[in-house]
């Protein structure tokens, strides 16, 4: 096996139970608070890497790449999220080279929510590549070529090639998991080395998924979107495909007095982590701005 290219990869190879977190760049230029919060709450030795979302839910905002660069400057290892919705293969490969030049070593390849979900529904969707194609593109760059050919039909050569720890996503609790599992296998065949999943709230559904994954041998980090309120949990149940928050969790949140709500959020998340821990290689915490709870969640989960 070749040398790990990032601390995140190193941690997964060591067999540690890995924690990753996530930040979203702002809609506007005021990115400092997001980076400062990451520095205060996510830079604690327990969080291996921090994902930076790429125009998540198709809502226009500043880029994943700039978020990654500022995290690197703050001594935090980023995961560049990359969706195929907004850029064709030329722009994606160009950004991959650029990200590598800036020091990014972890990439998460995604298709991305459809443009109609976001705040510019009249924009033109690209989808030149799908997420599998993006992983194939990264593989080409790592081989020192791109996806094009020269006038003699030979692959174009790169002057200096990148090397990434490449990731993918899966929806483990989808109502019909088999097509998801098949696609995950294709992503691994295309070069995915780790997987961060869509949100999981039901350990038994996740166990069912893991039993279907069979011989897919990459570290799988169970995704948890930190639930801020009962309303948010209900919204996710009604609107986010493949995500089902059990009634018991919704009830715990709705019964909690307002001043105890963050404490309940920490307890719920920590319990989920403890339940999921025997089934996966780590967890990916999507806090949606509540980074300040991450240290408490980690402590409460006993990690």
């Amino acid at each position: 096996m070749s040398e790990p290219v990032s601390n995140f990869q190193k941690a997964t190879e060591k067999g540690d139970f890995v924690i990753t977190a996530e930040i979203g760049p702002p809609k506007g230029t005021n990115i400092r608070p997001v980076i400062d919060e990451a520095e205060e709450y996510l830079k604690n030795g327990k969080v291996s890497a921090v994902n930076v979302t790429d125009i998540q839910t198709a809502v226009m905002r500043s880029s994943s790449m700039v978020g990654c660069k500022l995290l690197i400057d703050s001594g935090i290892e980023p995961v560049l999220q990359m969706v195929t919705r907004d850029r064709n293969r030329l722009a994606l490969m160009s950004d991959l080279l650029s990200a590598y030049i800036l020091g990014v070593r972890n990439v998460l390849a995604l298709t991305g929510d459809h443009i109609t979900m976001g705040d510019h529904p009249g924009a033109k969707a690209v989808y030149d590549l799908d997420s599998v194609g993006l992983l194939q593109a990264i593989g080409r760059l790592e081989d020192g070529t791109d996806m094009g050919v020269d006038f003699k039909g030979r692959p174009n050569k790169l002057d200096g090639k990148p090397e990434f720890f490449k990731g993918c996503c899966v929806t483990p609790c989808a109502d019909c998991p088999e097509p998801q599992v098949i696609k995950l296998a294709k992503k691994v065949e295309a070069g995915a080395q780790f997987c961060q999943t869509q949100a999981v709230y039901d350990a038994s559904a996740f166990e069912n998924f893991i039993s279907m994954v069979g011989d897919i041998d990459i570290p799988i980090l169970a995704g948890i979107v930190v639930l801020k309120s009962a309303g948010m949990a209900k919204y996710m149940n009604g609107n986010v495909p493949g995500v089902q928050v059990p009634d018991s969790i919704v009830k715990t949140l709705s019964d909690a007095p307002k001043e105890d709500r963050q404490k309940k959020t920490v307890e719920i998340t920590a319990k989920l982590i403890r339940d999921l821990k025997p089934l996966c290689s780590g967890v990916h915490l999507m806090t949606l701005g509540w980074d300040h709870l991450v240290p408490d969640i980690i402590e409460e989960a006993g990690l």
Binding site: D113, H114, Y127, L129, D130, D175, P179, P241
Partner: protein, 230 residues
């Protein structure tokens, strides 16, 4: 077939403002079948325009005509009214017909009365749905006859995305997830191996990214040449 939808009447009226004597020209092909641009719709639209104009004062008059196909030169011989005698033609063919008529009658403005939408099938009474994208590189052999380029909102080629739920697409609850349909169909055919196969990134050069497309049958061109030489 090509499916098209009538433009709103206000938009058409606005488009025709500079003209007094207008020919509404129907097309007997696809748009006639999808009940948007045939002879009946040409007659009705001309009547609607005349009624609207009569409320706003004299001066405007719309007539109508219809030919078998507006995308083929030979059928213009069947025109009962000469477009050259009108200030403008409002074509209610698909965009192909509008463009082709514009070329045939360079002195007359030819305006679109429809929005051309997609290649579709008549799936229920009064309903047409998109089935083909005209991508130039057909994949239906390995997708159980269900086109992911046309019918998956993201034109994915390697399977479902995370937005699929209860067999539906994340874009709209009344939209079937194409890859869920493909999965079910391939399973039914005993061909899930086709789903498992890696599909390489597509060459979109055949799909308009290579510029406007042209189909040439050399043998037909040669035959025409021989006939004209005799």
């Amino acid at each position: 077939m090509i499916v098209a939808d009538r433009k709103p009447l206000d938009e058409i009226v606005n488009m025709l403002k500079p003209y007094e004597n207008v020919l509404v020209l129907g097309c007997g092909a696809c748009v006639s079948v999808c009940l948007s641009g045939g002879e009946k719709q040409a007659r009705e639209l001309a009547m609607q325009l005349n009624l609207r104009a009569s409320n706003e004062g004299p001066g405007f008059h719309a007539d109508f005509d219809c030919i078998t196909r507006q995308c083929d030169r030979e059928f213009t011989e069947n025109l009962e009214k000469d477009p050259a005698n009108f200030d403008a033609v409002l074509s209610i063919a698909c965009g192909v017909g509008v463009g082709f008529m514009s070329e045939l009658y360079p002195e007359t403005p030819v305006l679109p009365g429809l929005n051309t939408t997609f290649y579709g099938a008549n799936t229920a009474p009064g309903t047409w749905e998109e089935y083909c994208h005209g991508c130039g590189d057909c994949v239906l052999a390995w997708t159980g006859g269900i086109c992911p380029i046309a019918r998956c909102s993201k034109s994915l080629i390697n399977g479902t995305c995370g937005g699929t739920h209860d067999g539906k697409c994340e874009v709209r609850d009344d939209l079937d997830c194409a890859w869920y349909m493909i999965y079910e169909r391939l399973k039914q055919l005993g061909r899930l191996d086709e789903y498992r196969k890696m599909r390489e990134p597509r060459d979109w050069g055949e799909n308009r990214s290579g510029g406007p497309r042209r189909l040439t049958h050399e043998e037909v061109m040669e035959l025409e040449e021989e006939v004209s030489n005799v």
